[in-house]
């Protein structure tokens, strides 16, 4: 039981990271109907920026994270403004392809500047643990979860109470009706990309502060966030969070127990498990747990 709780808690921490990445996908999808394949690239950029700011101890870690969020948001926003903006009215498919282009650019940029060798974030949260009864919890996981929860709370408050948040929700529901109220779709698109960039940077920190470290492969987290958004419902922020948590816990439990329960499974099966869960959920609920069935307006 103790082990189960430990696995589950570690999974939850990881799940919050997925939730953040998934949220980035969902927010751009809701605003523009584009699935942003560059999310993983933004995440990688965010991680390396934090590394860059903190290495040599020039900037304290929290400040470095904030700076990275701002720069990554700026890059995402510029991409929307300079590239995607010109493609409005083109098929969504073409826009999605362009985001893949951005992914490649970011990957190469990061490797060109910082190299492909794994680096170290310098254990911002240490490797200490605390124990509650028998259960041992890594402090690092607590930080990851706390940071993610903080961002999620800010995010939901923003959506519920700010004017721009209202415009984003209204535009997602009915763009023309939102325009008729004097809302600006352009502003909404830019905000969506900016927010997705900032959350990607934070999520990246959550990944890199863990076992992965700083390496170009942190972007694979974005791939694992896919089952999270599909399973949560691609147009549902709440679904993104729940989906992320489910994926995180599934993965952690699979990794923890597969050796004793299913010794014939290959190592790394925990990365496959999320996709199996996704397929199972889709069989029962084709639009995900919280997604809305397609209502297309003409």
């Amino acid at each position: 039981m103790t082990r189960f709780i430990e696995f589950a808690l570690a999974g939850l921490a990881q799940g919050f990271v997925y939730a953040l990445v998934a949220l980035g996908f969902v927010i751009i999808y809701k605003a523009t109907e584009v699935i942003n394949f560059a999310q993983g690239g933004l995440l990688t950029l965010g991680v390396y920026l934090v590394y860059n700011f903190t290495s040599g101890q020039s900037v304290p870690f929290p400040l470095a994270v904030v700076m990275s969020m701002i720069v990554t948001a700026g890059v995402a926003l510029l991409f929307e403004r300079l590239v995607l903006r010109r493609m409005l009215g083109n098929p969504v498919f073409a826009q999605v392809m362009v985001t893949i282009g951005l992914l490649f650019i970011l990957q190469n940029l990061v490797i060109a500047i910082w190299g492909a060798e794994p680096l170290n974030l310098g254990d911002p949260w240490g490797i200490s643990t605390i124990s509650i009864g028998e259960v041992i919890i890594e402090v690092r996981d607590l930080w990851t979860a706390a940071l993610a929860i903080g961002v999620l709370v800010v995010f939901f408050l923003f959506f519920r109470f700010s004017k721009l948040g209202l415009a984003m929700r209204a535009t997602a529901v009915d763009q023309e009706a939102a325009l008729a109220q004097g809302m600006s779709s352009r502003q909404v698109y830019m905000a969506a990309w900016g927010i997705a960039g900032a959350t990607a940077a934070i999520a990246g920190v959550g990944v890199a502060a863990g076992a992965t470290g700083v390496s170009p492969s942190v972007e694979f987290v974005a791939l694992l966030a896919f089952p999270a958004i599909i399973l949560g419902g691609i147009d549902s922020p709440l679904g993104a969070v729940i989906g992320g948590l489910i994926i995180g816990v599934t993965q952690s439990l699979t990794a923890g127990y597969q050796n004793e329960l299913f010794p014939w499974l290959w190592a790394g099966f925990d990365d496959v498990m999320p996709f199996i869960v996704m397929v199972l959920v889709l069989l029962v609920r084709p639009y995900g747990l919280f997604g809305t069935p397609e209502i297309k307006r003409v």
Binding site: K163, L166, A167, R169, A170, V173, D174, Q175, E176, A177, A178, L179, A180, Q181, G182, M183, S184
Partner: protein, 280 residues
Amino acid sequence: MNTSMTATNNAPGTDADVVLSAQGVEVVYRDVLLGLRGVSLEVKRGSIVAVLGSNGSGKTTLLRALTGLLDVHRGKVTKGSMQFEGQPLERRDPASIVRAGMAQVMEGRRIFPALTVDENLRTGAYTVRSKAQIRENYDRVLSLFPVLVDRRTSTAGYLSGGEQQMVAIGRALMSSPTLLLLDEPSLGLAPLIVEQIAGIVREVNAQGTSVVLVEQNATMALSLADHGYVLENGRVVKDGPGAELLADKDIQEFYLGVGDAGRKSFRDVKTYRRRKRWSS
């Protein structure tokens, strides 16, 4: 009515008593489809203007042209000109038009179903900067629509059709417009509710807002209107004072002759020949 206004500050040829005017507006969709073939109209300050016409005659297109929403439909104003409060309307974005004081209730209500009533109303005040002004508009809307008071936190999509129309009208009023455009507000509503909506339009107008009322329900629209236009095939085929149109033989036959059965039966009745007579 404001008759004491001077016209000194206006551009030549404009009249301070005219809120909105359009001259020979032509609209083309997707570079090939004619939506309007030269429509001219004028809205006097403080008046209610009815725009009648059957399906596809160009009523919605006219409102889109006025409010800057043609882009979304890949439409363009290709000829003519439009002025609101003496300022040209061409090439302006929807936000600046709302800010200038023109708001619209779109065809089919188009409330945001996933948002609460309260949030829907707040979207209408998006261009209003002053918190106090928003508060004031909000209170005014709720006093116009007392049924919405208890529904403020309800998800708008779950309201009845009549209530949703009230949300749509309330939302438009949240920007305190000087000109309110309504696109078929009676569409799909029971006669009793239509009467209620008519009463609200009259009251909003009495409080000082000029109104353009697009309708297929000619009885309702003409009973309210100071002036009416009849659109057919993208052109104005007839216009005149509301009472005059209401008494007009053609209009009586065309719109009112089918009884009060409303829009559905109206659509079913084939009045093609009579329409032809008008257009020629």
